[in-house]
């Protein structure tokens, strides 16, 4: 009898190509071997972005899981070598698109280390403020998409509703909802507009009411618990061997948070906890992330109290971004005072403005590695300068890239549905993975 599946022998055994047709006919030809290779292709509603999972299934159990990435490779690192150091911010911000402020801050900290300059205190506080708002937004997206992947569609609508509030605040401060290009080497591009502080306080008040609602919605829910408990287990040894950092490592019990152990941007002066869990499974990661949202809210509160008036860009005119933006009759642009100054009175200001915008500042030769704690783990930037106005090499050590290696370890031996939960609990962002 004819089957609809063509078969061929390979070194791995018999391979059947199924292109429609009666399943019984195919399976009867295949014998007792229940092993199937299933491709969860790059376009799939439940793989967190363009991730391809090649799963070898024995019935419903995953015997081997391989991740194939590269479907979003953008060549950002190479592109940055042809742009000035300041323009590098706009590239770096699009790597991990759910936490753009973190990418920018890590890069700017690296550039500032190479330059050897100190950023004004107000700029640092604004950076911390924006970073923590971004962390909340990122974790909310994780809740939303993770929930959607596991079938909890209300989590999606709720998570995105809260995220819109965070994005509103970020839009007031930076001008854009995503990919802000706000944090620049030397400080931040503009000061907080009037009314921003009140808006942030409003955000905190609203989140204080809404986050417990999400907690209630999911934490006590038996289906959510069953989907995540004892699923995607990875203990501390496994995490360290695979280089996994971030909520996954903290869910395994190790309180490794770069904000505490290698503080940057003044984090040592803020009072917050590092939530950990010793469950080392998807459930632990969920608890850790929700707790992190609450800790971030604490940090934002403290940051708001530290905002003292001051400059937001480094004083050195040869490095600090020269623009003074203001809202004019036709929108946001150079303030007329600034234009009067550079065109009328100060020759140096004009030269600085011209040189900085066309050529960019020069960074002394050398290399640095700066790491910050992004929502997904250790975000490191290895910046190499050859003394010029363009980065010689910028490599971003993305947490999602390294964390995704643990997907195989987490999925193998579990069920197919657990593989989805595992990838969801790793929270990879493919823009960061592929860069």
């Amino acid at each position: 009898m004819s089957t609809y599946a063509t078969e061929r022998e390979t070194t791995e055994g018999t391979v059947y190509t199924v292109t429609g047709g009666d399943w019984d006919q195919v399976v009867s030809g295949a014998g007792d071997d229940q092993r199937m290779v299933v491709n969860m292709g790059p376009q799939h509603p439940s793989t967190h972005g363009v991730l391809r999972l090649v799963l070898e299934l024995e019935g419903e159990t995953v015997t081997s899981a391989r991740t194939v990435i590269g479907y979003l490779h953008t060549g950002i690192e190479k592109n940055m070598e042809y742009r000035t150091w300041t323009q590098g911010v706009t590239f770096v911000t699009r790597m991990d698109y759910l936490s753009p402020i973190f990418n920018e801050t890590a890069y700017c900290l690296a550039v500032e280390k190479l330059l050897g300059i100190e950023v004004p205190e107000r700029a640092t506080t604004i950076r911390v403020l924006c970073m923590e708002i971004n962390r909340i937004a990122s974790h909310l997206v994780w809740l939303a998409t993770g929930g959607m992947e596991l079938g909890a569609l209300t989590a999606m609508t709720n998570g995105f509703r809260e995220r819109e509030l965070c994005l509103d605040v970020l839009e007031t401060i930076t001008g854009l909802r995503m990919n802000h290009a706000y944090v620049r080497p030397g400080g931040v591009s503009q000061d907080l507009p009037p009314g921003a502080v009140e808006k942030v306080r409003e955000l905190l008040a609203t989140l204080e009411k809404r986050v417990p609602v999400i907690d209630e919605l999911l934490t006590g829910q038996p289906i959510w618990q069953k989907r995540l408990q004892d699923v995607a287990y990875l203990d501390v040894q496994g995490c360290l061997a695979l280089g996994v950092t971030g909520p996954i490592l903290r869910s395994a019990g190790l309180a490794w948070d770069l904000r505490k152990v290698q503080p940057y941007c003044g984090y040592e002066t803020y009072d917050f906890e590092v939530p950990t869990s010793d469950l080392a499974d998807g459930w632990g990661r969920f608890l850790v992330r929700v707790a992190e949202i609450k800790e971030s809210m604490k940090i934002i509160e403290q940051a708001l109290d530290r905002l003292h008036p001051g400059p937001v860009m480094v004083e050195d005119k040869k490095i600090g971004w020269p623009a003074q933006l203001a809202l004019g009759s036709d929108g946001m642009g150079q303030s007329l005072d600034h234009v009067k100054k550079i065109m009328g009175t100060s020759m140096e200001a004009l030269i600085h403005h011209f040189k900085l915008v066309t050529e960019g500042f020069r960074v002394p030769a050398g290399q640095v590695y700066t790491a910050i704690e992004a929502p997904r783990g250790e975000l490191g930037v290895h910046a190499v300068s050859d003394g010029g106005t363009r980065p010689f090499r910028v490599h971003v050590r993305e947490p999602s890239f390294v964390n995704l290696q643990s997907a195989s370890a987490m999925c193998e031996g579990g069920l197919l549905a657990d593989a989805i939960a595992a990838v969801a609990s790793i929270d990879p962002v493919m823009g960061g993975v592929d860069r």
Binding site: E81, L240, A241, G243, G366, V368, V384, G388, F392, D434
Partner: protein, 253 residues
């Protein structure tokens, strides 16, 4: 499956193509920049001030190329915890003397330049020695220094969680013989990262379980992040002018 002929371009250096200086249109529009890429545009090559006699190079640097000096080795004492760490490494690793070519302390960071063959040994010592305890390999990446003989550098960043320290190890290989032992047996986290370094730079890590392309399509030819690989953009037409991709434009630096 790769689309346009970028694999053909991989072998041609951007400065190699010469075309007559572009049409200079009068009446307001910018002259078409010639396809000659002044060496000042090529990253990694510095240049110095002399009169411009060369195509449309308005940088004032007449194409003079000056290569950057190699990082200067630091002298002992290095300061801070660096002395303690290097002494501990020297005590624990007999191969320290002949394999560590240079120790550089710069901007608060310690870099050890080692011979490529010793990378696996030093990794093992860094992880296992109780005074060093670098449990986490944060990052493996590559850098291409075209001015040097050993162009391709593999850079390893180690993090010690116990002592809260960071250390960088750098190994340099030539393009003709780009072999470095893989540190996967010691740090399994290097798996994806070494694959990326192979994909982008062409450094072959011996002993890696599955060294295949990870970011580019499997049948891509060439290693994109090398300096002699073009950026590969296309010219953009905008308001009548055609703007070449960033690696072929005039340099203002």
């Amino acid at each position: 499956m790769s689309e346009s002929g970028f694999e053909g371009k991989a072998q041609v250096s951007p400065g190699g193509e010469h075309e007559p200086a572009g049409d200079v249109t009068h009446g307001g529009t910018a002259p078409t920049p010639s396809a000659v890429t002044p060496p000042a545009t090529r990253p990694g090559q510095g240049s110095d001030m002399f009169g411009a006699t060369f195509g449309s190079d308005t940088s004032g640097f007449g194409g003079l190329v000056k290569s950057k000096p190699a990082p200067v080795a630091s002298a002992k004492p290095y300061g801070g915890w660096f002395d303690e760490a290097t002494d501990a490494l020297e005590a624990a690793w007999p191969g320290f003397g002949e394999n560590v070519l240079r120790v550089v302390v710069d901007r608060g960071e310690l870099t050890l330049h080692v011979k490529p063959a010793a990378v696996l040994d030093i990794a093992r010592v860094l992880r296992d020695d109780p005074n060093l305890r670098f449990e986490l390999l944060s990052s493996v990446s590559g850098v291409d220094y075209p001015a040097e003989e050993t162009r391709l550098h593999a850079v390893y960043h180690f993090t010690s969680m116990t002592f809260r320290r960071r250390l960088r190890v750098e190994a340099a290989v030539t393009v003709e013989d780009p072999h470095i032992p893989s540190v996967c047996p010691v740090y399994p986290t290097a798996d994806f990262q070494e694959r990326e370094t192979w994909d982008m730079f062409g450094i072959v890590f011996d002993g890696h379980p599955a060294l295949t392309r990870i970011l580019m399509p499997d049948d891509w030819v060439g290693h994109p992040q090398r300096k002699d690989y073009p950026l590969g953009g296309i010219p953009v037409e905008y308001k009548g002018a055609s703007i070449p991709p960033p690696d072929e434009r005039r340099s203002y630096a």
